[in-house]
């Protein structure tokens, strides 16, 4: 009987604690989350209706610690590359090649736009549950957290996992047609975001002779193809001979990623707190 009484008292305390969690703590966390995410979304400089005029331009000088055969200066304007200057020193004859974007062209970095959209969706979800809203069940909070975390995970994944492309896909992408003078046919260029870095890869190709004894195996999709990868383009069979990758850290992307991680952890902690209680309520003495 005493055990039962104790457990009843315990139960009352737990219930009280849970109510506090639902009514006070959840909103505190949501508030915090919203602040962080707003901060994060500010990083994605958004040319919206509120801030008229073009977004500010940032220049990034791309390089690698090793050889400096490729140098690039990319100009980022919001989520689009507005200018690009690529200098390539051909390894064979030390000839210097220079390409730039055509004046009228911009190349959109879809990863940034997607991440920004996912964040704003997360903010929208949170904004609909401000202090005036009364959470009634834990399940409700869990559901909301799931939805927010889904958006945040996607936002972060868009930045951390660039699309894996096959070589023909890179060759077919519009990026290769953006340059003036046009890229020679034995060069492929790809730009993507990996984590907090803006990356530029240049692939040098050479044609495989039809009589070649090499076993032709088209390479699958990859973020970064290695030399020796083969593919078929038009009627030609091509092989990657050299790969150059240069990159540069974008500071505000770094911030955004940190914010994402922090908010994801906040969400998870809230979920864990709630589910401790949920599993307690659902269990019945037998």
């Amino acid at each position: 009987a005493t055990a039962m009484a104790a457990s009843a008292a315990e139960r009352a305390v737990l219930e009280e604690e849970f109510r506090w969690l639902l009514h006070a703590e959840v909103h505190a966390v949501l508030r915090q989350l919203q602040d962080i995410l707003k901060e994060a979304s500010l990083r994605f400089t958004l040319p919206g209706p509120s801030t008229e005029g073009p977004a500010k331009q940032e220049n990034f000088i791309l390089g690698s610690c090793g050889t400096d055969q490729v140098k690039g200066v990319l100009t980022l304007q919001g989520d689009a590359l507005s200018q690009a200057d690529v200098n390539l020193k051909m390894p064979r004859n030390n000839q210097l090649l220079h390409f730039a974007f055509r004046e009228d062209k911009q190349w959109k970095l879809q990863q940034i736009q997607d991440a920004r959209n996912h964040v704003s969706q997360a903010i929208y979800l949170l904004a609909n549950r401000d202090e005036s809203y009364q959470f009634k069940t834990g399940a409700e909070v869990l559901k909301l957290m799931d939805a927010v975390m889904l958006q945040l995970t996607r936002a972060r994944n868009r930045l951390t996992t660039p699309a894996t492309l096959t070589l023909p896909e890179i060759a077919a992408s519009g990026l290769t047609r953006m340059f003036a003078p046009t890229l020679p046919s034995d060069l492929l260029v790809n730009v993507y975001i990996n984590l907090n870095k803006l990356c530029l890869t240049v692939y040098q190709l050479h044609t495989l002779q039809p009589t070649s004894t090499k076993n032709f195996r088209p390479a699958g999709g990859a973020v970064l193809h290695s030399p020796g990868a083969m593919f078929e383009w038009g009627s030609q069979r091509l092989e990657v001979s050299h790969v150059h990758k240069v990159e540069c850290v974008i500071p505000w992307l770094n911030d955004a990623l940190v914010y994402f991680t922090v908010s994801l952890q906040l969400c998870q902690q809230l979920k864990d707190k709630i589910s401790v209680f949920s599993s307690y309520w659902s269990s019945r003495p037998f």
């Binding site: 919206g48 209706p49 959109k108 879809q110 736009q113 997607d114 959209n117 996912h118 704003s120 929208y124 609909n128 009634k136 069940t137 399940a139 409700e140 869990l142 559901k143 909301l144 939805a147 975390m149 889904l150 995970t153 996607r154 972060r156 994944n157 930045l159 951390t160 996992t161 660039p162 699309a163 990996n194 984590l195 973020v223 994801l264 952890q265 998870q268 589910s275 599993s279 659902s282 269990s283 019945r284 037998f286």
Partner: protein
């Protein structure tokens, strides 16, 4: 249809409805079905009646993430297709009528909205799906194949599209797509039919891009009434725009700061807008928004804020709404032409649907009065309404005192080797129970209902709270002790149990959270890890618990996020933990050290690398649907695919083992016919149990058990045959022999299969390895046979009993129902059984309980059920009125099983079950009373008395015709009656259902599904499919068949004409077909080929197939081609003659009047169908084997079969010689393979083709004897000529002929037996063939009489042993003389008409010939001297006609009869005297 196997699920839902948190809603065009998608990935189909009553019908499984959107996917008509998309990029195309998944695909991007759009190109209409989502464009997807065709992209500030609408303007005849991006920019694309014409992948750019400053847009809708305005609903306001120039017409704010989630036009002047918390408001638009009004557009450009339209109505919410956990989904639907309701449908997180009928109030002008919901129902409501409650798997064992809710089952695992189901419950106890018996209790009514504690079970107690997961490691890997069962609970503990003794072996308490998953490490881990299980807990920790050492050898904890996936890298001793946030931790198993943590792309690469290393050990934990999908996919791919093969493997090992030890005492093998899979739609739900019945496996098991039964029957089969007269299928072979025969057959087949398995690279490695182990490890085998210490029972018969009882259409034929109950031992179901339908790729549709309750009639039905007992009308026959696909599968199953049971001796379910129970009074409940009205009074005794004996009077009526049986012993009669019962059961389902159910209700089987099983691997299923297909084709009559032809003819692939042109030899054709340039259609056939062979494999290799035509990559499309070939082949073969012009109705024999085909148009092109079908069939037969078209595939076999069946139809279009050679090639080795084909066991593919080919040859030969004989004779001549010319080089062709000698002789023998007239007409050719086929030396030794007795029956054939000569009298009056020694032939002409008889004199010096036509008898002197014989070696012998006598002609007894062949014969009485004996006994004597 999952793979080739015929697998039927039955669901035990339990009382709690599955969680269905609705995320999207759709109402089908006909207004008959509401489709809802939920956050857990299931889709629910709800029937909506005219009176707006709603009843849930089925739940569709297959998506592994939340459903994001639903859309219709076909224009209209009788098809109701719906497409669904989920958050992880999956798209599925469903047939709403039966819940089949038609097509599915997965893209990298998430769709949030799909709209159906129909392009018209000429008079062709093609469906397109316009999709938008988390990507900055609109994808245009083909509505049947789900391929992305092209995209609509933006040039100016591209961004995600948040909503979209298609505007059809009748004025400009231009269709435009209007979309709003997330940043509030309106985009317009023009999509016209020209665009759909170019099938490029070129994107289309927008026509117009205009910022309209709408933030957080929720919906965009076009006014279908005026076609002039657009409604845009944003979260805080809604706006109406002019659809012409997109200028703002009016704007409204949100009510009380609520958030809008969508809206639509209700009529030309009203809009309905709904909020996030489920309120809806109807607004009347101001005049400036109405094109009909004068002041239209009067406010454009002015400030619109002061123009707030008034609320007209608000739709009230449910007052007593359950707590919702997320915003409800609302959609507005208005009917098209035939359907005029205007419905607002809302679905919420508790699986509740609320419907408001807007049409009711649209005209009333009362303001601000809330409109009540018209209908409101949730899944749980539907479950609660049912009486009896939906059954759970162990409800009878889980009743708690003082509560009417049974204990929930929270985890379960099925042990197929023992047929036991282990259930963990919410109170912490674990129950082990025989699966079939507990299912029988739950589903069927019978004496077991009254028994306490039935079925026998064992309870394990140890957990202090809910059991969360169960694992039986021995089932995954044999390295574990088969006694061990592992359970994990909410109380943080993992317990090892001994299932044989029931004791608790050990408790692990290492985790700090409830256990969520238990896993088995892969095979090649270190020895220490091999004896561990891996446990995952909700505190984000992973443990390796050693069962041998009884301790935790590693604990990987401190992960920040829940664990999503565990992978293994045994070679590096790594355990890889993937968390939900995408991070990966790599742990060293031996030391427990954290090797590294990775994020992003590295993490993905690490996980992928594990997949490469250990493909089998993938296990995802996050989502219950994922687990289900994986389980299903794995089942369908690995388990279901090779079920029969695997079955045979196990059988073989057991048989071989038994041979070594003790014959007749077979060890138990594992039972694969029943699988129990527990599924959860949501992690918090109790388990739902799905029983998967594999019909093929069940048939095999039944037949094997029958064969291995030591004392099969009390009666000898001869008696049985006499008694029944008709049951040739029954025990037509001796029982003792039967087992041996079966063993032999199984072993043969297995040898083949094993060979194939080892050779075939594509085969699952895992499978092969397991087989190898099973073969090699005797201990493993022995251990398998050890039963649990529970009551023994016959699992196979129990499974069959359960299955047949559920399938039978009860209540249609009372007499038959009696027979089923009393004689066959079947039981009536308590209520309608929830069946399911499996589609490709692990997609599944499960009927919800009460699916057939007509909406709105639930209450009456309930009242009725209370009075009359559960066996009311609704029970039983339900499944045949559900959908055509369901009918097909169920009919196939029940007929094939009934036939199997019929072929067994005394296969009744009575007595097998509950042998040890005390005899009980009749079944409880009232069904007996209701039955007793019509049945003879004796029936009440039956139930009480000894069932077997009493079966006779019931069936007195049916047995009366077979008076012979009365004299037989009672046991014999029982057996006969049982068999007859099965045959009645099969007959009723095969042909009588349409009449009994009424055409309005009956859903006939799908022809195409039957056609695909025309040559099913399992003979019983094949026979059932053929019988059903023919019955159905007959039922639909000529008109229906014409319609079928019209439907399928367009799918028939068109083959190049030159492939099979007359005169082209088989070699030429084969080389031509093999040549690489013969591209298009062949490639297609190869693909489709593949489909029929194995549905599931195809899906994997689809992408690698080069794209021939736009449609060709679509799975469904290619399968349709294959189906078309089969279906048209069947119709052509079976009904070909009938659909032609009437003058050809009788199938004439002369070749000038061959049926010309089955085209429908009376014009000149009416042979094309027959020709094309024939081309396709011959192509399939003759195409040389390739990886994609294996030599012995289902479709090839089907083609063979159909060529044989419809030869008369195809003959004019095919190269007969090539076809015959192709068939002979296939059955050349038939003797070896087909030694013992008797039982319905699956054959090895090669043997099966041989069997079909042999059958086809016989059919061709008997249908067209002259064609067969002349063709073969031609080939023989060609061959001999070839052999004479080039002696060394043997072409494929000739070796075929040489190898098939035995087969040719067999056919000739059949011909002589059945068509002697035709043989006599071409006797010389026949003799040519025989001479070629018979071994000369053998004939010399044994004589013709012994070598080929059949031919010697003819009077026109005579054989003289000493000189080894054969004389054959031909039709045209000549006599052919063969010399066996040289193989040469000489012809003499002597008569003017057909020769009636020939005979050699006893000393061989004379040959007498007689022709009835010219009534002459001639004597020829043979050269028998030694010199002459030598001379004959090189030159023709001298033959002289020495005498001719005139004889009075013999009159034939009746013209045209076979007697014409036996008019007269010649009998030599001595060397010089001969008697001409006529058929009427008249004799004429002659002397040389």
């Amino acid at each position: 249809m999952a793979g080739n196997s015929l697998v039927l699920p039955i669901v035990l839902w339990g009382r709690k409805a599955p969680t269905h948190c609705i995320s999207s809603i759709l109402l089908t065009d006909d207004g008959g079905t509401i489709v809802t998608g939920c956050h857990d990935g299931q889709i629910c189909l709800w029937d909506l009646s005219e009176e707006l009553e709603v009843n849930p019908r089925a739940l569709l499984f297959g998506h592994t993430a939340a459903i994001t959107c639903l859309s219709k996917a076909c224009a209209s008509g009788d098809k109701q297709y719906t497409v669904s998309a989920s958050a992880n990029g999956e798209m599925c195309l469903w047939d709403v009528n039966d819940g089949r998944c038609i097509e599915f695909t997965k893209l990298a991007c998430t769709h949030t909205g799909i709209q159906f759009y129909q392009f018209s190109v000429g008079n062709q209409r093609e469906g397109r799906l316009l999709c938008h989502g988390h990507y900055p464009e609109i994808l245009v997807v083909d509505a049947t194949s789900l391929e992305v065709l092209y995209s609509l992209v933006s040039k100016i500030s591209p961004d995600w599209i948040s909503s979209m609408s298609i505007i059809r303007s009748h004025r400009t005849q231009e269709d435009t797509v209007v979309a709003l991006s997330v940043t509030g920019i309106l985009k317009v694309w023009i999509v016209t039919s020209e665009i759909s014409g170019l099938q490029d992948t070129e994107p289309i750019f927008e026509e117009e891009s205009k910022p309209i400053y709408c933030q957080n847009c929720q919906s965009l809708s076009f006014c279908a009434f005026t076609q002039r305005s657009l409604l845009v609903v944003c979260s805080k306001y809604w706006r109406v725009f002019d659809a012409g120039d997109y200028s703002l017409l009016c704007s409204g704010p949100s009510e009380d700061g609520q958030t809008w989630t969508g809206g639509d036009f209700v009529s030309a002047d009203k809009v309905i807008i709904w909020t996030e918390n489920g309120q809806s408001y109807i607004y009347k638009l101001p005049a400036s928004c109405l094109p009909a009004s004068d002041s239209f557009r009067s406010d454009v450009g002015k400030a619109v804020e002061n123009l707030i339209p008034p609320v007209q109505h608000s739709l009230l919410d449910q007052k007593d709404r359950e707590l919702v956990i997320c915003p409800p989904v609302t959609r507005f639907f208005y009917g098209c032409k035939e359907y005029l309701h205007k419905l607002l449908i809302q679905g919420d997180s508790s699986g509740r649907l609320s419907i408001w009928n807007i049409a009711d109030i649209a005209d009333k002008q009362e303001a601000n009065e809330g409109l009540k919901t018209t209908t409101c129902i949730s899944l749980q409501d539907a479950f609660d309404k049912l009486k009896p409650c939906p059954a759970g798997i162990i409800d009878q064992l889980s009743v708690i005192p003082n509560s009417n809710e049974p204990l929930k089952v929270t985890a379960s695992v099925y042990i197929p080797a023992h047929g036991r189901l282990v259930c963990g419950r919410e109170d912490g106890s674990i129950i082990i129970v025989p699966a079939t018996q507990t299912a029988i209790v739950q589903l069927l009514q019978g004496e077991h209902m009254l028994r306490r504690g039935w079925p026998p079970h064992r309870t394990l107690r140890g957990h202090r709270n809910k059991v969360t997961c169960l694992l039986y490691p021995h089932q995954v890997s044999a390295r574990y002790d088969q006694r061990y069962l592992i359970s994990g609970g909410v109380d943080f503990s993992v317990i090892i149990w001994d299932i044989f003794s029931g004791e608790m072996k050990h408790i692990f308490c290492v985790h700090g959270g409830e256990i969520t998953q238990l896993l088995v490490p892969p095979e090649n881990c270190s020895a220490r890890v091999q004896h561990c299980v891996c446990s995952v807990a909700s505190d984000h920790s992973v443990g390796l618990l050693s069962l041998r050492e009884k301790k935790c050898i590693m604990l990987a904890s401190r992960h920040l996020f829940p664990i999503q996936v565990i992978k293994w890298r045994p070679s590096d001793d790594y355990l890889v933990v993937g968390c939900t946030d995408g991070s990966v931790c790599v742990w060293q198993m031996d030391t427990g050290a954290l090797d590294r943590c990775a994020m992003g792309i590295t993490a993905v690469e690490i996980l992928n690398a594990c997949d490469e290393a250990v493909p089998a050990a993938v296990d995802s934990l996050s989502h219950p649907a994922v687990n289900l999908k994986q389980a299903m996919t794995r089942r369908s791919l690995a388990a279901l695919k090779n079920m029969a093969h695997h079955k045979l493997q196990t059988l073989a090992t057991n048989l071989l083992a038994s041979e070594a030890s003790d014959k007749g005492n077979l060890p138990k093998y594992s039972h694969n016919s029943l699988m129990v899979q527990a599924i959860k739609t949501n992690l918090t739900d109790p388990d739902i149990h799905v029983l998967f019945f594999d019909v093929e496996a069940l048939i095999i098991q039944l037949l094997t058990e029958e064969a291995s039964r030591p004392n099969t029957a009390l009666i000898s089969p001869e008696n049985l045959q006499k008694a029944s007269g008709s049951s040739d299928k029954g025990g037509s072979f001796l029982t003792g022999k039967r087992a041996a025969v079966l063993f032999q057959q199984v072993k043969e087949t297995i040898k083949e299969n094993i060979k194939e398995h080892l050779l075939d690279e594509e085969e699952d490695e895992e499978e092969v390895m397991r087989q190898r182990r099973e073969e090699s490890d005797p201990e493993y085998r022995a251990s398998k046979s050890k039963p649990l210490t529970l009551l023994e029972y016959n699992l196979t018969m129990d499974t069959a009993k359960l299955f047949m009882s559920c399938l039978h259409a009860w209540g249609l034929n009372e007499v038959l129902d009696e027979v089923c109950l009393d004689r066959l031992g079947m039981l009536k179901p308590h209520c309608t059984v929830s069946f399911g339908l499996l589609s490709r790729g692990g997609h599944m549709s499960l009927m919800l309980p009460g699916y057939n309750q007509a909406a709105g009639k639930l209450l009456q039905a309930k009242a009725e059920a209370g009075r009359k007992g559960p066996a009311t009308e609704s029970v039983g026959k339900g499944t045949y009125t559900v959908s055509r696909a369901v009918t097909t599968q169920h009919l196939l199953s029940i007929i094939s099983l009934a036939n199997t049971l019929m072929s067994m001796t005394n296969a009744t379910f009575i007595g097998d079950h509950m042998k040890k129970g005390p005899t009980r009074p009749p079944r409880p409940g009232t069904p007996d009373l209701s039955k007793a009205r019509d049945s003879p009074p004796a029936s009440s005794n039956i139930v009480q008395g000894q069932i077997k004996q009493a079966a006779a009077p019931v069936s007195a009526r049916s047995a009366a015709d077979h008076s012979g049986s009365a004299s037989a012993s009672p046991a014999l009669r029982t057996c006969f009656l049982v068999n007859e019962g099965w045959s009645q059961l099969a007959a009723m389902h095969c042909v009588m259902l349409p009449d009994l159910l009424g055409l309005g209700k009956f859903r006939p089987p799908l022809l195409e599904m039957l056609a695909r099983r025309w040559q099913d691997r399992c003979l019983e299923v094949r026979e059932a499919a053929q019988a059903l297909l023919l019955a159905e084709l007959r039922r639909i009559e000529q008109a229906g068949r014409k319609e079928t032809i019209d439907t399928w003819a367009p799918y028939l692939p068109q083959y190049m004409d030159h492939v099979i042109s007359p005169g082209v030899t088989a070699e030429a054709m084969q080389t031509m077909a093999a040549a690489p340039d013969a591209s298009g259609p062949e490639a297609k056939v190869q693909e489709e080929e593949h489909d029929l062979v194995d549905d599931d494999i195809t899906t994997g290799c689809l992408s690698s197939v080069p794209q021939m035509k736009k449609m060709s990559t679509s799975y469904e499309e290619r399968r349709k081609q294959a189906t078309a070939i089969v279906l048209l082949g069947v119709i052509g073969a079976e009904f070909g003659a009938e659909i032609e012009p009437p003058k050809l109705l009788t199938r004439p024999r002369s070749s000038s009047q061959i049926p010309e085909g089955f085209g429908l148009t009376s014009g000149g092109s009416n042979y094309s169908l027959a020709r094309h079908t024939c081309k396709a069939l011959t192509f399939l037969l003759l195409q040389p084997p390739s990886p994609k078209l294996p030599p012995h595939s289902t479709i090839r076999r089907t083609a063979i079969d159909l060529i044989g069946r419809g030869f008369t139809v195809w003959e004019p279009y095919m190269d007969v010689s090539a076809v015959l050679m192709g068939l002979l090639e296939l059955c050349a080795d038939a003797e070896k393979q087909l030694a013992n084909i008797t039982m319905g066991l699956p054959l090895s593919p090669a043997a099966d083709s041989a069997r079909s080919a042999r059958h086809a040859l016989s059919l061709i030969a008997t249908a067209r004897p002259p064609a067969f004989i002349t063709t073969i004779a031609k080939e023989v001549h060609r061959h001999t000529a070839l052999a004479a010319n080039t002696q060394s080089q043997q072409s494929i062709h000739t070796t075929t002929l040489a190898r098939a000698k035995g087969e040719i002789l067999r056919v000739i023998e059949i011909l002589i037996e059945k068509m002697p007239t035709d043989v006599v007409d071409l006797l010389v050719e026949v003799m040519d063939i025989i001479m070629y086929c018979l071994e000369g030396s053998l004939v010399k030794k044994k004589g013709l009489q012994e070598c080929f007795p059949a031919i010697c029956r003819f009077y026109m054939v005579s054989y003289y042993e000493r000189s080894h000569r054969i004389a054959v009298g031909a039709r045209h009056g000549s006599v052919a003389l063969y010399d066996i020694r040289t193989g040469k032939c000489q012809t003499i002409h002597g008569h003017k008409g057909p020769i009636t008889a020939v005979s050699f004199a006893p000393d061989g010096r004379y040959l007498a010939t007689y022709s009835n036509t010219d009534s002459h008898i001639s004597f020829w002197q043979m050269n028998t001297s030694l010199l002459g014989s030598i001379g004959m070696l090189n030159s023709a012998p001298q033959l002289r006609c020495i005498k001719t006598y005139q004889v009075p002609p013999v009159q034939p007894a009746s013209p045209g009869s076979h007697n014409a062949l036996r008019l007269a014969r010649l009998i030599w009485t001595s060397n010089r005297n001969v008697i001409l004996m006529a058929h009427d006994g008249k004799e004429h004597r002659f002397m040389v």
